[in-house]
Symmetry: C2
Subunit: 134 residues, 2 copies
């Protein structure tokens, strides 16, 4: 099990760089950015990413194979994640909307099956890009 608190050296390095970024980072771009800190191999990045995801510190944007820091408190350990993704500037925002989250967490399909986890990705233009394309 992942402990609540302490991050290992590599985990901290990877988390720091993801938290500082304004948009989702890809694994190899993280790698190139931390080679000066002595991390040389993709494995080291992917291992850190896996743990950080487990801990709920970061999320993977599946449609982009990229990673963002968790800014929400709703998404209890990555069980319920929602993002808006700008198709123009690629910006990603985490959506934390209690109503939405509850609606989806309680959703059951036609067979009555409930699910323990979901990931939702919305696509459109962010406010900035909408104005610019006018």
């Amino acid at each position: 099990m992942a402990q609540a608190q302490t991050l290992s050296r590599n985990q901290q390095i990877v988390l720091d760089i993801i938290e500082k970024a304004k948009s989702p980072l890809k694994a190899y771009s993280i790698l190139f950015n931390v080679q000066k800190k002595g991390i040389n191999a993709p494995q080291q990045i992917y291992r850190a990413l896996d743990k950080l995801i487990e801990m709920g510190k970061i999320h993977k944007i599946e449609s982009k194979n990229a990673f963002v820091a968790c800014r929400s408190s709703d998404c209890e350990i990555s069980k319920a994640t929602a993002f808006s993704i700008c198709e123009s500037c690629e910006m990603v925002d985490e959506i934390s909307d209690t109503k939405l989250s509850k609606y989806l967490s309680n959703f059951s399909d036609k067979k009555g099956t409930k699910f323990k986890r979901f990931n939702l990705e919305f696509f459109g233009l962010c406010k900035k890009c909408k104005i610019e394309t006018k």
Copy 2:
């Protein structure tokens, strides 16, 4: 623009194999399955997949990098897709639930932004696997 009707040879081959499959297919597994039909290169598969997605004939399961045939009529040209994914047997079902679809299509975030497209992936155990693990 994608035409409404006709599929090209390669598109038809790729669609056929995806439609026959019971679970999502990966690009390279499609490739291996159609080499006897004279398709030799990944490009040929990815090009067909891209067009089929445009036409709404298939969907990509982003969390699995795999492709399924569209079984729904709700998801007008892939603008609104939802799937349930079994974490045990990897089975994927397309969810076509008008209420869910409307709810999400009308969703707007805290800034009032609406989105023109979404993809939702639920994870859990399918009925079959739930019984087996009891």
